[in-house]
Amino acid sequence: MSAASPAIGRSNLHRFLSGYGQEIVVLLSIVALFIVVGAVNPRFLSDNNINSIFAGNAYIAIAAIGMSMIIMAGHIDVSVGALIGVIATIAGTLAVAGYPVWIAWTVPILFAIMVNAGVGALVAYTRIPSIVVTLGMLSILKGGLITATAGEWISGMPVEFMIAQMRPFGIPSAVWFMVGLTIVAALFMRYTDFGRAIYAVGGNMEAARAAGINPERTVVGVFALHGFFAGVAGILFATQLQVIQSTVPPNLELTVITASVIGGVSILGGTGTVIGSTLAAILFACIGSALIFLNVSAYWLRAVLGLMILATVLADMARRRRAR
């Protein structure tokens, strides 16, 4: 990646394309989808629909950024959906209790960072596989949330708390967050020592250690960062509607993980970009919306979705093989 670029433009482009191969496949799929579905039903391309595709699913994309970092570091987190449910509930409770909105926004995010740093510490220092720790956390957060709230809905939050419904410069704030955080995270992964350490740890832990990186601290750090993204996602999730369900959103962790891996993050760690995961989250949102627009029978919706995931994955594998 950091090799000196040859002078010839074509080769540069080629290098660029192969560096971002999966991102480009996903991006092209999104464009293709917009063209095809737009041709069938032009309303698919209306401002409203594009807005709702992006804004309604931004929280998934943001959670997928953190998940990508976790996977790049060679780990996994299956408790992210439960964590987002907990964050949303805490935020709503604080807002209704009359705390200033900035407290209702930041305290849950700090909580998420702390919880995940704890998970990271367990993973890093005791060497328990992350899937075990997070499977455990999934149960603990889910059971704990129901015990604490009994599933009472939260409503009556103040208007200024509803950050996801604000529209600075006419664009939903959730979209600003999604785009902004993706760019910051991409730059961070590429140009900071810590970002590179994440790749290194995911690639080969012992080699990373030999190169002067502290792998344990990196793992705790990356889990904490993931907590931050999950926290922001939780706040957007909480402020999208005027009621908060205070339960764990079903299957959210699967959606987030799928977005990350489809976006080109290798599950073996060490490679991938956060831009890919955001694009993949958008692709999923587009597919979900497109299937309705295309009158795919609701009974077959999930089967078509599964086929599409499979097709994306197989296309990616074929591309990688050609690139080799």
């Binding site: 496949v25 092209l28 799929s29 293709a32 989808l33 095809v36 579905v37 069938v40 039903n41 309303r43 698919f44 409203n48 629909n49 709702s52 309604g56 699913n57 929280y59 889910k142 059971g143 129901i146 709230t149 009994a150 599933g151 009472e152 809905w153 409503s155 419904q165 999730f237 999208q240 509607l241 005027q242 009621v243 908060i244 369900q245 205070s246 339960t247 959103p249 079903p250 979900g288 919306s289 299937l291 309705i292 627009f293 295309l294 009158n295 795919v296 029978s297 609701a298 009974y299 077959w300 919706l301 078509v304 086929l307 599409m308 097709a311 994306t312 197989l314 296309a315 074929a318 591309r319």
Partner: protein, 368 residues
């Protein structure tokens, strides 16, 4: 290659979708329907002999303290919190019942069966349940009856011989008529309408949709059903699905039915955020608390639901009387505390009453 695959799949989806979409209303079940008359003339009451089950050699529980467990479809949602409240209210009023609610965190037949099985082993005197599947739950309920446990259902029935009585909140065709009539009134009798439901496998919702289709075909033929979408029991997903419907059909869409207490407020939110209040009607089943913002803002005119607190309350009273031996097969009515006399229908069902319509005038009187 990638694009080709994608294109092929899209084409395939398009083809199969249009081929299938025109049949019946998606999301209904295939059981026979019995739509009510358009003007609401009640059908002639057919008297059916008692078809419920009976516990084997139950001990004499008359007037004695009993322990009761309530296993709803799932815990942690507003609706079943409300039924639990009713059960606990009734238990406190009766004074000789020790009741608690426990159940799975998602509407899952397997987990519900495991919960029931454990409580049978632990030796409760009575079971209240709301079935995730009428047939799947039957074996474990029959086992309870065999152990001499009193079994009463509410909200979602099992096969009749697997329980003693079932407290029916409102008959399927009654709910269907109320929902369709309400929609027809709000959209002026004609126009495109769509449905947001939980999952197609949820028996009550599937039944209502089938009955709504039958009733609408007979009484409001100009209501054009457009589409049914699934949205689990998930607030944000329901919102996204409803928004997609609004975006897809534009002016063609005149109304949305929300089939669950989650889907209805989320649909109302979608209409609100699309600034389509007054253009798109939202009619559905919902609990009043979740709907207050939308009813208050005049975006939703009315909400149909029975009172789930009353439902739980009635179920607890019925169970107590069954345990006491005062409610016997063949009874034609039951006294249920403050609710007064309730009718027995269909052999072994107890009818809570007509569905309740909440509107701006009365919604603030309810807190559940």
């Amino acid at each position: 290659m990638k694009k080709m695959t994608l294109g092929a799949i899209l084409a395939l989806g398009l083809f199969s979708g249009t081929a299938l979409a025109q049949s019946a209303w998606t999301g209904g079940d295939d059981l026979p329907t019995s739509p009510l008359a358009c003007d609401g003339t009640p059908a002639a009451a057919v008297s059916v002999p008692y078809d419920g089950g009976a516990p084997t050699n139950p001990p004499d529980r008359n007037g004695k303290k009993i322990t009761v467990v309530d296993v709803p479809k799932l815990i942690g949602i507003g609706y079943f919190n409300a039924t639990t409240k009713g059960i606990l209210d009734a238990a406190a009023e009766l004074g000789n019942v020790d009741a608690k609610t426990d159940g799975p965190t998602k509407a899952n037949i397997d987990e519900q069966i495991t919960f029931l099985d454990n409580y049978i082993t632990s030796g409760v005197d009575g079971i209240l349940f709301a079935a995730n599947d009428p047939v799947a739950i039957a074996p474990v309920l029959k086992k309870a009856l065999e152990k001499g446990i009193n079994v009463v259902g509410y909200d979602a029935n099992s096969t009749p011989d697997a329980r003693q009585w079932f407290v029916n909140q409102a008959q399927f065709n009654g709910i269907a008529k109320a929902l369709v009539d309400q929609m027809a009134t709000e959209v002026g009798g004609e126009g495109g309408v769509a449905i947001v439901t939980s999952t197609f496998t949820t028996p009550n919702q599937a039944r209502w949709i089938a009955e709504m289709a039958a009733y609408a075909a007979a009484c409001h033929p100009k209501l054009k059903w457009l589409e049914t979408v699934e949205a689990q029991e998930d607030n944000n997903l329901s919102f996204n699905q409803a928004t997609t419907l609004i975006n897809k059909y534009g002016d063609e869409l005149k109304g949305i039915w929300g089939m669950t207490s989650v889907a209805t407020p989320a649909s109302a939110e979608a209409v609100t955020q699309a600034k389509a209040c007054g253009k798109i009607a939202v009619v559905g089943l919902a609990t009043p608390n979740a709907m207050k913002p939308y009813v208050g803002a005049d975006c939703v005119k009315s909400v149909v639901l029975w009172n789930p607190v009353d439902l739980g309350y009635a179920a607890m009273h019925v169970l107590r009387q069954v345990a006491d031996g005062t409610l016997k097969p063949g009874a034609t009515s039951v006294k249920a505390g403050k609710l007064g006399e309730l009718q027995v229908i269909n052999g072994s069902e107890i009818l809570l009453g007509a569905p309740y319509v909440f509107n701006k005038d009365n919604i603030n009187d309810f807190d559940f």
